[in-house]
Symmetry: C2
Subunit: 227 residues, 2 copies
DNA sequence: CGGAAGATTGATCAGTTTCAAGCTCCGTGG
DNA sequence: CCACGGAGCTTGAAACTGATCAATCTTCCG
């Protein structure tokens, strides 16, 4: 499968002509990362951005004591580190591969040229950054205004909405889910337990069934609490 | 003073030609808001975005119990609600004027046309959104990985860096500062008190002197704590 | 097969919020 | 012009959420 065929499946490049994709393909570097391999560290020189072809990446911040807060978990078709391209500075977070991953790397300079020459690509990128901004503001809202049960409920509802099913399968470990929700595995485990006891969910390893969507909704919006 | 002269001072429009500014000026609506007046509510139809000419705007989220988390406090020359332009959906937060404010409003449709026609404007907007994204990720980091003293220390250092002075003047109330830091006025007051007692800062109303930059730095990075 | 990583549960502890009260300051209307 | 009322700010005591520390068990990757 050629590079251009992979690019065609990336939503950031949706609607671009074959010639445009051809041009983009010329500036791409195809890169492989092993599970656990560092892609960049916070503060590294921001030389370009990435598109995930296969695998899963963890973008995160870290505290002095080593606690991690996950910002983003891009998978196939997702992009990351675009910020470095447009602020012309260093990467503002850490990135490691959670599994064996194939990435396309776009060097900053060449990609900026592409964007300048291509209004549709610019619009796509603006839409992509705006979407990210929206998700980040939801994260800020959750961290500041919701307690852990509310954040978890909101996340489960989000997953359920994505899959269009009241059966949800976690494709990340609970350690990572905790880090994404801004808490720790112990707390997450306890709260999943409480939710089960109250009949809001049924858990079986990474499988979570949601028999009571309305109950979770009340939790997520702060209208009820977990006793 | 004509609209175009105001536009020239907005960093989002930096580097644009006089003709470009002229075109932009044609799609602007000049609007006045009184102190406390609502500009839009979360969920309202996102019809366009704003540039602040004079005054101060509060962009915030709100919990079910009425607690507020400030996302952004745009002042003269700053923009807000750009996200609504590019995601084509509703406003994702609340906006009110903190004081009598003059705003320029850009309707979504016309502004998108301007961007498509003008690569420099597109690049400026990409840079602006990226900067915002970076600030939001710092906020997420702070809320999740730092305690209130650390967040406050980081914010004071930020203000000091902006002004290039170890003397800082708060141009917002402490109620708003608390909301910006993800806490409440009582906690903020106590922590300012502790910092003063330890000689990290000296406070006099909205004036805060920082005699011990290194001490604050240690607090902000989590290397020390407030006993 | 061995060991590290993931997951769960209990007891304790620290940080922050909540509730309550009192204070100053300022704008506005009588 | 003064008084009133509300907003901003501070301090204290009590309650609570979530983190920490510790132990155990399981799983899965090398």
């Amino acid at each position: 499968m050629k590079i251009i065929d992979h690019l065609a499946g990336v939503s950031l490049f949706k609607g671009l002509s074959a010639e445009n994709l051809e041009e983009l393909a010329m500036i791409v570097t195809d890169q492989e990362f092993k599970r656990g391999q560092v892609i960049f560290n916070e503060g590294d020189d921001g030389v370009g951005f990435f598109v995930v072809i296969t695998g899963r990446i963890k973008i995160y911040k870290m505290s002095a004591e080593g606690k991690e807060q996950i910002l983003h978990l891009p998978g196939p078709g997702d992009t990351f580190a675009e910020v470095a391209v447009f602020t012309g500075s260093s990467y503002p977070a850490f990135a490691v591969a959670l599994e064996k991953s194939r990435l396309f790397f776009f060097p900053k300079k060449s990609f900026i040229d592409s964007i300048r020459a291509n209004p549709s690509l610019a619009m796509n990128m603006l839409a992509s950054l705006s979407m990210r901004l929206k998700r980040f503001s939801r994260m800020i809202e959750a961290l500041s205004l919701k307690e852990v049960p509310g954040r978890l409920a909101a996340h489960l509802l989000y997953l359920s909405e994505q899959s269009g099913d009241t059966q949800v399968v976690l494709d990340i470990t609970k350690v990572h889910l905790a880090s994404l929700l801004g808490t720790i595995p112990e707390t997450l485990s306890r709260i999943l337990g409480k939710m089960s006891k109250q009949g809001l969910i049924r858990t079986d390893g990474p499988h979570i069934a949601i028999p009571d969507l309305d109950g979770l909704d009340d939790l997520a919006s702060g209208e009820s609490r977990l006793t």
